[in-house]
């Protein structure tokens, strides 16, 4: 059983690395009620984490990781531009993001585990900031809750549309493991 889970998890993270971001997906079933998998991070065994590391530690990935630097710099530039937005930036009732929330989002960039696809930044008209991911297997978003915490939501594109929601993750050295575990649990 563990072997199956390990394989699926490795495929999810591996494909997040290798595949381009899609703009449109097939097979999305809107009328189904999503299945709640977990409201907190699932505990992973050392064996599972170890096998994921092996699965993602390829020469291709190292090359990809090197290529990430310009993308991360572009991301940082976008986040800095968010700071220049003032109230009313997206309609009369829109509000600017809090600078400390943008700083928190930038800190998360350094905590993203290896193998996780480069995120896209987002800012909402109510000032909420975060990242989002789209892959053939899932869609996900990460939202800054306050200057020291964020939340993470992942929704599978597969039948059943399993969901993972972690309402609070501290922005510290434990965050990469929590993010990894969440993506592997979907």
């Amino acid at each position: 059983m563990l072997g199956v889970i390990t394989t699926v998890g490795a495929i999810v993270i591996g494909s997040a690395v290798m595949r381009p971001i899609p703009s449109k997906q097939d097979g999305w079933k809107l009328s189904e009620v999503p299945t709640l998998v977990s409201s907190s991070t699932k505990v992973m065994t050392e064996e599972l984490i170890s096998s994921v590391s092996v699965a993602t530690a390829t020469s291709a990935e190292f090359a990809f990781a090197a290529d990430m630097q310009p993308k991360f710099e572009a991301l940082r530039s976008t986040l800095h531009r968010y700071k220049s937005l003032t109230d009313g930036w997206d309609g009369d009732d829109s509000v600017a993001a809090k600078p400390e929330h943008i700083d928190a989002l930038e800190r998360i960039l350094d905590l993203l585990p290896a193998g996780v696809q480069t995120p896209n930044p987002m800012i909402a008209s109510d000032g909420e900031v975060g990242f989002y991911w789209k892959s053939p297997e899932f869609v996900a978003d990460l939202v800054i809750e306050n200057a020291t915490e964020f939340s993470l939501f992942i929704r599978s594109r597969n039948a059943g549309h399993n969901e993972i929601y972690i309402p609070t993750i501290a922005i510290n050295s434990k965050a990469p493991a929590e993010i990894s575990n969440a993506f592997l649990s979907i």
Binding site: P20, I21, E32, V33, S39, M122, I123, A124, K134, Y165
Partner: protein, 182 residues
């Protein structure tokens, strides 16, 4: 005047209409009533509505849409136009005029232009369900004197939490299926 029209007239200037509608408990029931005296009739499931995308911040570097595109559905309502009552090209022209006006009013903000349109089948929006089996969105006919085709999408579930996040990404999925860049 029906109670739905009364509600929207009473809260015409409110920026938290979605929350008020949710608290009223009538969000779904009132979809079958006109919300405006200018209404051509309630929005039907078989209709399609259009959102004109004019803020580049909601389009990513590969042309995909941001989940934040429809963040106004949690507040004053996500403005759309009913394609039974307006041509896409006319809606685009209105979007261009709106972008010009906003650029003039707020030259320091990111320059707006019409980037594309999102075509949303109303029945798909109304069929978005969350883990609690609740419907996530209502589509209400909020016609304006100057735009008979105007409608709004309102989030009918709490603003935060797993259900809200699920609803947002499901709406994004529908939007991407109907996105036509210019």
């Amino acid at each position: 005047m029906n109670p739905c029209t009364g509600f929207f007239e009473q809260h015409a200037g409110a920026t938290n209409k979605a929350e008020l509608l949710q608290k009223s408990g009538n969000g779904i029931e009132w979809e079958s009533l006109s919300a405006s005296i200018h209404s051509p009739g309630p929005v039907q499931d078989a209709e399609e509505v259009l959102r004109v995308v004019i803020n580049p911040i909601h389009v990513d570097n590969v042309g995909g849409l941001s989940p934040a595109l429809f963040s106004d559905v949690k507040g004053q309502g996500g403005s759309v136009q009913r394609l039974n009552f307006i041509e896409r090209e006319v809606a685009i022209d209105m979007g261009k005029a709106h972008a010009l006006k906003k650029n003039s009013e707020r030259p320091e903000a990111p320059a707006r232009r019409v980037l594309g349109t999102v075509r949303l089948p109303v029945d798909k929006v109304r069929k978005v369900l969350v883990a609690t089996a609740q419907r996530a969105f209502g589509v209400h006919d909020t016609a304006k004197a100057t735009d008979q085709s105007h409608a709004d999408i309102f989030q009918l579930i709490p603003e935060k939490g797993q259900e809200a996040r699920s609803a947002r990404l499901q709406l994004l999925e529908i939007a991407e299926s109907g996105y036509e860049p210019l």
